[in-house]
Symmetry: C2
DNA sequence: CCCACATATCGACGCTTGTCAATGTGACGA
DNA sequence: TCGTCACATTGACAAGCGTCGATATGTGGG
């Protein structure tokens, strides 16, 4: 439920004080990033060749159990930061750069770029 | 203890896969941001006139008790995101823009700017 | 001095979350 | 069809965190 219907865009921190709803939405997105395992998974996918990585290649290097990795990947997908594509019995993940850009813009001191 | 000795700089997500230590450090910093009350406090200080705000003017609009607000402000200061200056019996807070920039750079897809 | 005020600290409470072992669900190959 | 492999889901547990009331600390005014 509530599968990344969010659009954090257009709310730079320095342009206007956030109300409770905006803050809750942005906090929820940042909370997904604020975990070592998920940051590592995201960076591993981001730096993978061809821009995508198979889940089977992520479990061992991240140093967590397979269910834990699957759980983190699901959170990243649900937050719109990763895209999942099943091929046969493997799951391939790729980054959604726009989503990361939206976060960075939300943290901008000024009115952000011409994105909005 | 460990009062913001961090320098998250120079580790863009998309340039190389983060190791456990880098990920833990960046996650700790993001975790401070990933809370509605702290995001609101940060944005209120950022948009305040003269770039600084008195704690007494933050308690009521943020809708939390005074001890809770004080706690969140302390976390933001400890993370290096806010600067605290005591004047008489009041505490004035101002943002540390470089710190926010460092976070945004760490989330950059490429090798970031010429900051490093 | 003593009191009022602004802020910080303490102690406690529920809720959230990261983690794993065990199990479920499909997809391929023999 | 059966077994194996890749991945997701479930259930449970400990640790962390946001919150508040009560209290401590420190500052200025009368």
């Amino acid at each position: 439920m509530a599968t990344a219907s969010n659009d954090v865009c257009c709310a730079p921190l320095g342009s206007a004080a956030l109300d409770e709803d905006q803050a809750t939405e942005l906090a929820a997105l940042l909370k997904v990033l604020a975990d070592p395992a998920r940051l590592r998974l995201l960076s591993m996918v981001a730096t993978a060749t061809d821009g995508e990585a198979c889940a089977c290649d992520l479990v061992e290097p991240v140093g967590r159990s397979q269910p834990t990795v699957s759980h983190h990947l699901s959170l990243l997908v649900e937050a719109g930061l990763l895209r999942r594509e099943k091929r046969g019995r493997w799951a391939w993940y790729s980054v959604v750069p726009e989503r990361l850009d939206a976060i960075r813009d939300a943290l901008a001191p000024t009115g952000a770029g011409a994105r909005c």
